[in-house]
C-alpha cells in the first residue's frame, strides 16, 4: 500500500508505475490531477505559445506568398482553447489513473509519521509514502494586490500592452516570449535569465530576447504604485511602467511534511528518491528540481524503488527544454564537463542545414560535448527550431551509453533536422558532411 501526496507529473507517474508493479495506491490531490504542469504550467503555456506563434508568423508569411493582416489578438478565445486542451488532458489522465485502479482522494494530505497520512477521510495507513506536493505561486504579501501570478496569467481577459515579468527561468522566458510575439512591451527583472542547466546558452537566449525588445532590469522591487490603468514599479534607481506585473516565483509546498525531512527549503533525497525516512520518498519540485520531466523520471524511480527494485535516478540523461525561443539542454554543461573530462566539442549551425533553410529557421546551433578518451557523450545544447524534440535523440543515445561515434553513425532521411545531430557529432573530428573542410 503506497500513499502519494500530490497528483502532478511526479505523483501520477509514481502512482501508475507503482500499480504496474503490483501496489495498491492512494493518491491525494487537493486541486486538480495533473498539477502545475497540466493546469498552470507546461500545458497552458504551450497552448498560449502556439497562439502567439501563429500570430507572429503572419508577419513572415509574406515572404512565402501569404498576405494576411492580423486582427487584434483575442486573449479570451485563446483562454478557451487552453481550457479545452487542459480539460481533454485532465480527463485523459483521470481515465488512465482510474483504469489502473488508483484511489484518488480529493483533498489535502498531511504526513504524520513514516507510515501514516492524514487525509480528508481520516488516517491512511501505508507501507510507503511518496511526497509529490509540488509548488505554489509566491508573491510578497505587500505586492499581491497589484500583481498576477503565473497561475493568474492564463486567466487574463485582455492583452496587456506592457508587462513586467518578475524572476527568470524557462517558464518566465516563455511567458516573456509570448507577450513579445503579440507585440507587447516586455521588461524582465531577474538575476539570471535561465536556470543553471542552461548556462551554455543563456547569453544567446538573452540576446534573442533583447533583440526582440525585452528590457532587462536587475535589483529588488521596492514599491508598486497604481498609476491609472498601469503600475509604476520602483526597482533600485529605475522606474518601470507596466500594465501587468507577472510574478513567476514559485514556492515549494512543504506543509504537511515533517520538518525533519526538510533542508534548505527542499526535501533531501538520495539517488533512489528516499528521504531521511527510508519508507518515505519525495519527487518533483520539492526535491529542488523544476521540470515536469525530472518529476516524472523521479516518480518512476521512487515507485520502482518502493516496490523493491534498485532503480536509481540519473539527472544527467533528463533533457531540459525551453519552448520559446526554442532551446534544449542535456547532460553536463561545458564548465561541468571540463572539470571532469578532457572535453571535445562538435558544433553545427542551423544555417548549414537544408531542412532548417527550407523552413526558414536559420538561427540556431547544435553543440555536442564528448569525452575525448572514450567518446562518451557528456552533454549537448541546442538553440533553434525543433530543439525540444532533437534533444531527445541525444538523451536516448546517452541513456544507451552510445559513444559519440555511434550517435554520428545515424542514418537520416534528407533533408531533416536530425541530420544536424549527426553532423554536430561528426564535427568533433572535422568530418561533418554539411560543413566546409576544416
Amino acid at each position: 500500500m503506497i500513499t502519494i501526496l500530490g497528483g502532478g507529473p511526479g505523483g501520477y507517474t509514481a502512482a501508475i508505475r507503482a500499480v504496474q508493479l503490483g501496489a495498491e495506491v492512494t493518491l491525494l490531490e487537493k486541486e486538480e490531477v495533473g498539477g502545475t504542469c497540466l493546469n498552470w504550467g507546461c500545458v497552458p503555456s504551450k497552448v498560449f505559445l502556439k497562439g502567439s506563434k501563429m500570430y507572429s508568423q503572419l508577419k513572415f508569411a509574406e515572404s512565402y506568398g501569404v498576405f494576411a493582416k492580423p486582427s487584434p489578438f483575442d486573449m479570451r478565445r485563446l483562454g478557451e482553447r487552453k481550457n479545452e486542451v487542459k480539460q481533454a488532458l485532465v480527463m485523459g489522465l483521470k481515465n488512465v489513473l482510474r483504469s489502473y485502479g488508483v484511489n484518488i482522494v480529493h483533498g489535502e494530505g498531511r504526513m504524520i509519521d513514516e507510515h501514516t497520512v492524514v487525509g480528508p477521510g481520516g488516517n491512511i495507513a501505508c507501507d510507503k509514502i511518496i511526497l509529490a506536493t509540488g509548488c505554489q505561486p509566491e508573491v510578497p504579501h505587500l505586492f499581491q494586490e497589484l500583481s498576477v501570478t503565473y497561475k493568474d496569467v492564463f486567466q487574463l481577459q485582455y492583452l496587456p500592452r506592457s508587462v513586467l515579468v518578475v524572476n527568470g527561468g524557462v517558464f518566465a522566458v516563455e511567458m516573456a516570449w509570448f507577450f513579445l510575439e503579440l507585440g507587447s512591451q516586455v521588461t524582465m527583472v531577474a538575476e539570471n535569465v535561465l536556470e543553471r542547466d542552461f548556462e551554455d546558452i543563456e547569453t544567446r537566449i538573452a540576446s534573442y530576447l533583447q533583440n526582440r525588445g525585452v528590457k532587462f532590469v536587475q535589483g529588488r522591487i521596492a514599491s508598486i504604485k497604481k498609476q491609472g490603468e498601469q503600475k509604476l514599479v520602483e526597482i533600485g534607481e529605475e522606474e518601470i511602467i507596466a500594465e501587468e506585473l507577472i510574478w513567476m516565483n514559485r514556492k515549494r509546498v512543504l506543509e504537511g511534511i515533517p520538518r525533519k525531512l526538510v533542508q534548505h527549503e527542499s526535501v533531501a533525497v538520495n539517488e533512489h528518491m528516499q528521504t531521511a525516512f527510508p519508507a518515505v520518498y519525495a519527487v518533483g519540485d520539492i526535491t529542488g528540481s523544476y521540470t515536469a520531466g525530472d518529476a516524472m523520471a523521479q516518480g518512476v524511480v521512487a515507485a520502482e524503488h518502493a516496490m523493491g527494485n534498485t532503480t536509481a535516478y540519473n539527472p544527467r540523461t533528463v533533457p531540459k527544454v525551453l519552448y520559446a525561443p526554442e532551446a534544449a539542454v542535456i547532460g553536463l554543461t561545458e564548465r561541468e564537463a571540463s572539470e571532469e573530462y578532457d572535453v571535445v566539442k562538435g558544433n553545427f549551425p542551423y544555417g548549414a542545414s537544408g531542412r532548417a533553410q527550407t523552413v526558414g529557421a536559420i538561427r540556431g546551433r547544435v553543440t555536442i560535448l564528448a569525452d575525448k578518451k572514450y567518446g562518451e557523450i557528456l552533454g549537448a545544447h541546442i538553440v533553434g527550431k525543433g530543439a525540444s524534440e532533437l534533444i531527445q535523440l541525444i538523451g536516448f543515445a546517452m541513456r544507451l551509453e552510445a559513444t559519440i561515434d555511434e550517435l554520428s553513425s545515424l542514418l537520416c532521411a534528407h533533408p531533416t533536422m536530425v541530420e544536424m545531430i549527426r553532423d554536430a557529432g561528426l564535427d568533433i573530428h572535422g568530418n561533418a558532411f554539411n560543413l566546409p573542410r576544416k
Binding site: T310, K373, Y374, E376, E401, T403, E406
Partner: protein, 543 residues
Amino acid sequence: MKMVMPKMGMTMEEGTIVEWKKREGEFVEKGEIILEIMTNKVNIEVEAPASGFLKILRGVDDVVLVGEVIASIEEKVPEAVEKAEVSRAMEDVPWKEPEFKPVRQEREVVEISVQEERTPASPRARRVAEDYGVLLENVRGTGPDGAVTEGDVLSYVGKRKSQEAFQSGLPGVSPLAERIAREKGIDLSRIKGTGLEGKITKEDVFRYMEEREKPERPRMQKELEPEKPGIEKEREPEIPRIEKEREPEIPRIEKEREPEIPRIEKSSEIELEQAIEKPMIRPEPVSQLPPIQTGATLAEPEHRVEEPIMHLEKPLGPEPEGKTLPLTGIRKLTAERMSRSKREAPHLTLGMDVDMTEASNLKTSLAVTYTDILVKAVALALRTHPQLNSTLSENRIVLRDTINIGIAVARGEDLLVPVIHRADALSLKKISQATADIIERTRKDQLKDTDVLDGTFTISNLGMYDIDFFTPIINPPEAAILGVGRITPRPVVVRNRIEIREIATLSLSFDHRIVNGVPAALFLKEVRNLLEHPYRLLMEEEP
C-alpha cells in the same frame, strides 16, 4: 559430421578454443588445420576430420570439455550462414522469399541428424522450422500428442536467438562500457550489469574495477594466514606418529581452512605460483633471461611488475587507482586452473628440512643441477608411494602407471610446466639432458603439446630467488606438488655436535581428497632420504 574437442593427452579434460582458422560456412578440406586449441598452456592445431562446410558451434575463448561438440562439417552450406549472408547484403539486394522446399528434402535433413524418427509437427511448423533452419527434434511440442506447433518453433527460434546472442560474446553491454572495458583490459563476462535487462553500463565497469582493487589487501592476508609455515610445521612432527585414531584430526584442519579458500577464486589475479630455474651450475642462461626474475617473484608480483610497464592517461571519474592488464591467454588459463585447484582440492602443505650437503657434492661431481637431482629423487620416491602419483577423476582415484614429473618454469610473465616423461626410468644423466632441453625450449617458446601433457607430479623450485619456504598450489588434476626452497648453510645438530650443513626446506602440497597426511609425510620423508643419500639415485641408474 560432428567435430568434438579432441583429447590430446591422458589428463586433458578440457581445452580452450584459441582461434578458428576458418570462417563459419567456409569449405574445409579433410586434414586442413581449422582451429587452434589451448590445453596445459600449449596451443595445439587441430585438423578437419572431414571435408565439407564448417559450422562453428563454440566460439573463441570457450572452454570445452573433451568430447563435447565444437563444430560440425556439413555437406552443404549451413542455412544460418546463408541467412546471415542474405541479411548482410540486405541493403542492396531486395529480400527474397525463401524458396519452398519439398517436405522430402526436410526428411533428409532429419535423417542426417541424430534421430531418425519423424517428430510430430504441424505442416506450418515444418514450414517455419525449415525457414529458420530449425531441427524439429530440438523443439518442445505443446500441440496434441506433443506435436510441434508453429508457435513452438517461433518461440524456440526466439529463445535460441537470444541464447546465441548471449553466448556470442558481449550481449548486454553499452558501447561506452565496452570501449572502456576494452581499453582497461577488463573481462566483461565478470561484470554483472545493472542497466536495462542486465546490460553492463559504464558505472558497472567502474564499480567492478573499484571492487577488484578494494579486496586486494584483506585477500592477501587471507591467503597468507593459513600458509604461515608455523601452522603446518607445528603439526608436522606429530603426523608420522599419528595412528589411525588420530587421523580424523587432519580433516578437521581442512574444515577450518576450507571456508577461506573460495574467497580466492573470484579474484582475477592469483598468486603467481612458482618457477624453477637451473641454479648455480649454469649461471649464464639465468643472467641472459632477466624476465624470469620478474616472473618468479612470489605472491603479488603482478602489480609491482605492471606498474612501470603500463602507463595510462589521467584516471577518469570513479576509476580506481592502479593499472590493469587483460586477463587473457596463459595468464587467464593459469588464473582459472589455480583458482579451480584451490577451490576444489583441499590443500594441505607439509614442510621438511633436508640436508643437501651430499646432494651438493653430487651436483658438483656429476655436473648436474639440483633440479635434476630433485626430479630423480621424487620420481623414485613416487614409485613406492603411488598414491602421490595419482589423479582424481569423478570419484575415482587413478593411480597412474607412469611417473611424469612436471617442472614449473617461468617464461617472462608466464608460468609453464613442461614434463619429463617416465622420469623414474631415466638415469640422472638422461634426466639432466631432458630438463636442460625442455627448459631451454620453454624459454624459447618451442614446446610441443606432448611436452606439457600428462604430468603426474610437479616440482617447483624457488630456491634461486631466495625463497626459504612457500606453499605451492597443486597443478590439477595431479595429487601433489613439491616446493623447493633455498639451500643455505645452517647450523644443525649431527651426532650431538653442531655442524654447518647445506639445508633446504621442502614443502609438499597435496590434495587431501586423494592422500592423507601420513602417507604424504612418509613420501616426503622418502624424498628426504633419497636427497640425503644421493648415491641411491645413482645405484638405480644402470639397470
